[in-house]
Each structure stands twice: as structure tokens, then as C-alpha cells.
Amino acid sequence: MSLMTMIVKMSEGLGKTCAIFFLTLLFSLPLGMIVALLRMSKVKIVSAITRFIITVLRGTPLMLQLLAVTYGPYYLFGTNVARNKLIPVVIAFSINYAAYFAEIYRGGIESIPVGQYEAAEVLGYTKLQTFMRIILPQVIKRIMPSVTNEVVTLVKDTSMAFTVSYQEMFTIGKQIANSQTSFMPFLVAGAFYYIFNVIVDYLMGRIEKRLDYYS
């Protein structure tokens, strides 16, 4: 198999890799905020439960969570395993990343001086207005570097979808490597991930720059 065919075959899986990546971000970024707010809830039981869930999600391998989401329902309830693996993959990734984003958000929210809340309160902002207009924009700026880190990690983590037989780029690479007894597909995969991350890095850098108008 020529290098070119290898690259062509693997880029067929790249679409699926991108699907995992973008859908995971689409769901985990907002979900993380909900989790962060639950984690900071003044109702002790809510924050305790949320905290426990976060430690489980951050304290167990993503691969295990992928298996649990994909095959867990079948083993527990005998339900069908999803034919389209994108669904369980995105669910598992979104939940896992939401836990990480939640902790980043929490750190960001807690770093905002209490004076910002007080100033808004005295000016008659509602709680929601305060959060959406005053707190969140400042939180976003503060957490951008940590979020970029997670996003870069996500690009690489998409390769874990192979454990549930989702035919994304890395899975195809492994198949080629196996049938061709060649290490080349792994190099190609590495190059793909690297280029993907260079683009991600550039885009995140631009967002950070746009938020640079104040300090």
C-alpha cells in the first residue's frame, strides 16, 4: 500500500474524528457550566453529589467510561448496543469533558472578586444578568488557557474511540498497520493529530487575543 493510499484511507476516518471533536465540545462546554453551578450549589447534598460524580469522572480512565456508556446498558438491562457508535462515543466524551470543564469553570468563577457581584447587585442587576453579563465574560477570559489545554487533549483523546470499534481515523490506522505490518499509519496518524492541533492552537490563540482588550 502506498503512502498516498494510506493517507487517503485514513482521512476517510478523519471526518469521524472531527465529528467526535466538535460534538463533544458542543455538548461538554455548556454541560460543564451546569455541572460547575451544581458543584457550587449552596444546597449541601447537591454539591456533594456533584462533587462525587466529578471525582468519579476525573478519577477513572476515559476508556473505561467509553466502554461503560457503550456496553453498560446492554450488560445491565439487555438493551441493544448502539449501531451508530458516534452516539455513545459523544455521550461518554461529553460527560467526561464536562467534568473537567466544570472544575475549570469553578476555578474561574471563584477567582472573580466578590466586589464584582456586589457592584452589580447594588446597581440592580438580577442574579442572571450578573452572571451572564458581568461574571461569565471575565471567567471565559481567565480560563481560556486551561480550556485550550483540554481542547488539545480532546483532539488526541478522540483516538480512544477505537475501544468501542468506532471507525475513526486512528482505528483505520491500526487496521492498516495490522494488515500491512507497517508502522507508517501511526506516523500518518501522528501527523494528522499534530496538524489538527496546530489549527486548534491557532484558533484558540486568536480567541485569547480577542479577549486581550482589557486586563
Binding site: Y74, N80, V81, R83, K85, S165, K174, N178
Partner: protein
């Protein structure tokens, strides 16, 4: 030209000498003292050059145990795989025992072949309720295969035509996942080694092994025509090793993890399992 010729002559002499050094023992089984095992030295994990420079591998270890049992001294001879039967005939070794696929042509040519000990047959496993009866029924359906198994390579090469009729072939990184996908209705069939299929189907209800041996092969030991007695002695010795547990002990080694499921003496064949059931 002369020079090349002389080098070739010298080489032939050296080869000839080494061949005579390993001259096989044609004496009957009873008073045999040595046993020359013909192997492909580059066929791990069945036979290969170990890290310590000595030949090893599953076949070599079993053969050593056989020789220990029968009181023979084991000598190992690396054959040229393309010429293995010629070398066997020319008494350079007493058998060819090295992950060798049993071919009908061997039997037709009069070679004595041992009981098959390794089953490389691939089958399709489906759910009984699905009503699939043959590989043709699976046209357009989704088939799971374990990544890196002979099944996967078969679907890529020898059985590529069959694979093309499937709707999709997905690869799982363990056969357990293949079967989970099947039982969870995410795929319609699993393409897997027969012994694996048989043992899994025996433990799990509702599965059906489609009665088509795809890419069927079995490994055996080849002996010269007329060495039936020797073959029987080796077969019997191997059976004794199976019974006293030595065989399982060798198979349990880490380096043989990939082949252990296909060892007929330990797992039985699919056919036997079905007969038992």
C-alpha cells in the same frame, strides 16, 4: 566464473557436511535415540530463535517434552520452508513440525500426518433468532472481526470477495467486544476462530455458528511415508502430555497467549463441541 563456481562447490560441501551431521535416525521407534525436528526457524510463536540463541517456540517445547517422555535426544534442524518435504524425504530430519498447515496434497503424496493440533478455521457466528444460515445471508450486513487476528487478515486477502458482500466490517480490539456487539444487536455476525466461537457459543445461549469453514486450516506434523509407527508414537506421547497437564502448562506461557485458544487438544474443535451439545 571459475571463482564463483568454486565458492558454490565449497558451499555445497559445507551444506552437505552439515546435513550429514544431522542425519536422521531411520531405526525403529523402540531403539531410537535421537529425534530430528524440522522447523521453520522464523515462525513465532511456534518455532523461532529465542533470545538466548537456542530454538524455542510452542512446537519446539512440546517436541522437547515428547522426546523427554520417550527418552530421545532432540535435535533441531532448520528447514528451508519451500523445500521442507524434500528435506524430510532426504532424511535431513525426522519430521516437519512447525505450524505446518495440513494440505490434502501431502496426504495424497503419501506423507504420514499426525492428528491436527491447531485449528485455524474461521467461522461466522450469528444470533439464532436472526435466521441467518449462510455467509450469503449476510450480504449487506455488518460483521465484526477482532483487530489483528487471522480472521481480519483473511477478510483483507483470501476472503476479500466475501468481505465485499458484507455491508460493513468493523474491527473490535477484543473478541469479547465482537460478541458483545453481536448480542447487543449492533452487528449481525462475528467472524472469528472456530475454537473461540465454539467455546463462546457453549457458554452463551442463542448463538449459532454458521456451518461453513471459511479459510479452514489445521496444523499437523508431517512424517515420511512409512513412518506411521513413529507418528503414532509421537501422537501418543502428545496425548500423554495433554493428559498429565504438561501440554496445558506449556500453552499457558505468556508467549503463546495468541495461539492458546486454537489448540485443538485444549479447546476441542467446533465440531466436537457441537457434537457434545
Amino acid at each position: 566464473m571459475k571463482k564463483i563456481l568454486s565458492i558454490a562447490l565449497v558451499l555445497m560441501m559445507v551444506l552437505g557436511l552439515s546435513a550429514t551431521a544431522f542425519a536422521a535416525d531411520s531405526s525403529p521407534v523402540a531403539d531410537r535415540t535421537t529425534f530430528v525436528m524440522g522447523i521453520d526457524p522464523e515462525y513465532p510463536p511456534f518455532s523461532y530463535l529465542g533470545d538466548d540463541g537456542d530454538y524455542t517456540g510452542f512446537d519446539v517445547e512440546v517436541c522437547q517434552a515428547v522426546c523427554d517422555l520417550l527418552g530421545w535426544k532432540l535435535e533441531i534442524f532448520g528447514v528451508n520452508w519451500d523445500e521442507k518435504l524434500v528435506q524430510l524425504d532426504s532424511m535431513e530430519c525426522d519430521c516437519v513440525w512447525s505450524g505446518m498447515t495440513i494440505l490434502d496434497t501431502m496426504k495424497e503424496a503419501g506423507y504420514v500426518i499426525s492428528a491436527p493440533y491447531y485449528d485455524n478455521t474461521q467461522v461466522l457466528v450469528v444470533k439464532e433468532e436472526s435466521g441467518f444460515k449462510s455467509s450469503e445471508d449476510l450480504a449487506g450486513k455488518v460483521v465484526a472481526v477482532q483487530l489483528g487476528t487471522s480472521g481480519e487478515s483473511l477478510l483483507n486477502d483470501d476472503l476479500a470477495d466475501l468481505a465485499a458482500t458484507f455491508g460493513n466490517v468493523i474491527t473490535c480490539d477484543s473478541f469479547l467486544k465482537c460478541f458483545t456487539e453481536l448480542q447487543g444487536n449492533a452487528v449481525d455476525a462475528v467472524f472469528v476462530d472456530l475454537p473461540v466461537a465454539a467455546s463462546y457459543a457453549a457458554d452463551h445461549e442463542g448463538l449459532l455458528i454458521i456451518d461453513e469453514a471459511l479459510g479452514a486450516e489445521q496444523y499437523g506434523i508431517a512424517f515420511r511415508a512409512g513412518d506411521a509407527e513413529l507418528c503414532e508414537a509421537v501422537d501418543a506421547a502428545v496425548q500423554e502430555l495433554v493428559e498429565n497437564g504438561t501440554y496445558a502448562e506449556i500453552a499457558a506461557k505468556e508467549e503463546y497467549v495468541d495461539i492458546v485458544n486454537n489448540l485443538i487438544f485444549l479447546n476441542g474443535t467446533g465440531a466436537e463441541e457441537e457434537a457434545a451439545a
